[in-house]
Subunit: 339 residues, 2 copies
Amino acid sequence: MAEMQQIVLARHCDGPPVPEDFAVETLPLPEPKEGQFRLRHVWNSVDPGTRSRLSGGDSYAAALPLGKPVDGFSVGVVEASEHPDYPVGTKVFCAAGWRTHSIQSGRGFLGKVPEALVPLSAWIGVLGVPGLTAWFGLKETARFKAGDCVLVTSAAGPVGATAGQLAKAWGAARVVGIAGSDEKCRWLTEEAGFDAALNYKTTGDLTAAIHEAMQCGVDVLFDNVGNAMVDRVLPLMSMHGRICVSGQVADYNVAPEARAGIRHTAPFITHRINMQGLVVFDFMKGFPEALGEMAAMLASGRLKAKEERFDGIAAMPEAFCGLFKGENFGRRVVKVGEE
Amino acid sequence: MAEMQQIVLARHCDGPPVPEDFAVETLPLPEPKEGQFRLRHVWNSVDPGTRSRLSGGDSYAAALPLGKPVDGFSVGVVEASEHPDYPVGTKVFCAAGWRTHSIQSGRGFLGKVPEALVPLSAWIGVLGVPGLTAWFGLKETARFKAGDCVLVTSAAGPVGATAGQLAKAWGAARVVGIAGSDEKCRWLTEEAGFDAALNYKTTGDLTAAIHEAMQCGVDVLFDNVGNAMVDRVLPLMSMHGRICVSGQVADYNVAPEARAGIRHTAPFITHRINMQGLVVFDFMKGFPEALGEMAAMLASGRLKAKEERFDGIAAMPEAFCGLFKGENFGRRVVKVGEE
């Protein structure tokens, strides 16, 4: 009998996730009913934001029950269909979790991959939630405008790298990234067009270094790290500066009481700072336009997207856990099926 | 020779201000030159926000140098004039500091008191910066809309009390205040029309009590207290909730490193929270309209404004220092001259 595999949550994470928190399950391959199709996943993503659902007691995002497949994004090929709009061979991106196959009805966050200008995996990376988060976080949440000086944290990650490049493309006066290795910093300045990049692991006085590297203050902090970074940068913000809370990778593993605190809040009043978080699905109406523009930028080489590729669904837990050690350099995608 | 008095900063404050941080000075009464007039102050205000300029090392608001008169708002009567637009007898409100008299040129934050519908002292209270902060903080910063559930902290203070009453007048679904005595709480519900009020000093589990009192979640937190309160309320915020950072009275006396930290930041993403501070002078174009409407509400009794009156300029340091002990109940105004 034909089979599929999925990765489920075996126990709730306590602190940084470890591969033993997950288990591989093998199931019979399901058949689509009328109005459904079966997607063979080709690439699955691992996403830091997923961590917020993996602690048992989390009171915000609904906790993922034990035994359920873990969240992630996928791009794949329809291999069996009872849905007139999705014939066999159609390429589709969707949010379908850590599986090799899924049954879909064409609803929810799901779309057809329009054409083969870019690698298929881009549709769960720079043309997926990370790229869209960068686009809408910068444009809508941070209300970016040409001439802004932008600081991006976790800048070599897929969200940060895209945010910094979009800021440059849209006329930022200066874009500085913070990342965790000299290699990442070199890529940011030499490949991705950042004006400067700082290695937070080796820079002594990081606050002073940010201040110096920015030259023009911080109009926009595009943060993927969390409270400690926001607290550090607040005193460096310019008048009417904006903080986009895009991600909180340093805080997802820590109970709220144990997190770093944001203390330097005087600039909220003195400098009229605005801080706003986003979930990119609030902006779905704008996805087609954003994806069209980013696909063109990517195809023409004006937008660089770095990927780290893993092989086989069993590699997903390891790929995910590494996100919280700062191991990843670019989008982590896992090949789980044939294109 | 005729004289005037002023209160100057005698030493930088370290922690909560004490009366010994200030000194009374007597000076010759100055004469206005051409284009100037001399204002006899009738009422001066003491303002918690002033504290942020009184620590020597503060790096945000420019520190007040020793020996300089302390900031505050005043309303008074022109008693000598070389300015054609401000004849003797004109009543004027302005930001002129802790003095009995000042020389003015008609520029800056300054206006004529339009008519005698309300007590003169209202023009440095509900018709001054506190009332305007409530108005624009609620309308612009918090983007209040009818149907919102609003939580106001330091609610018996002049900013909070006005914010809560404006929210009710503008169609809030529910307005809850937090204050520091049963007497204040009674005034809020019985006089000012708040739906509920909580005494933070005697309520055991304040977070649970807020949750219960709000009934409908918190769409708008109008905060005058600071980090600890923001941290407490964040997990109670509704989707797309807004935090207006109107004041930080609990934090002004504390070095940033020693302040309470905001740790419960997950809702910034999960609930798309927006947090924004304000300085009311950014909204000066709208002052005439806001003042006109609030003066009418005040004159007709639809807006209640509680005052605590002190007598004589020498009482200003004591009146100011009490703001940081939660002593004040309403706007503290000091009579420093004859009307």
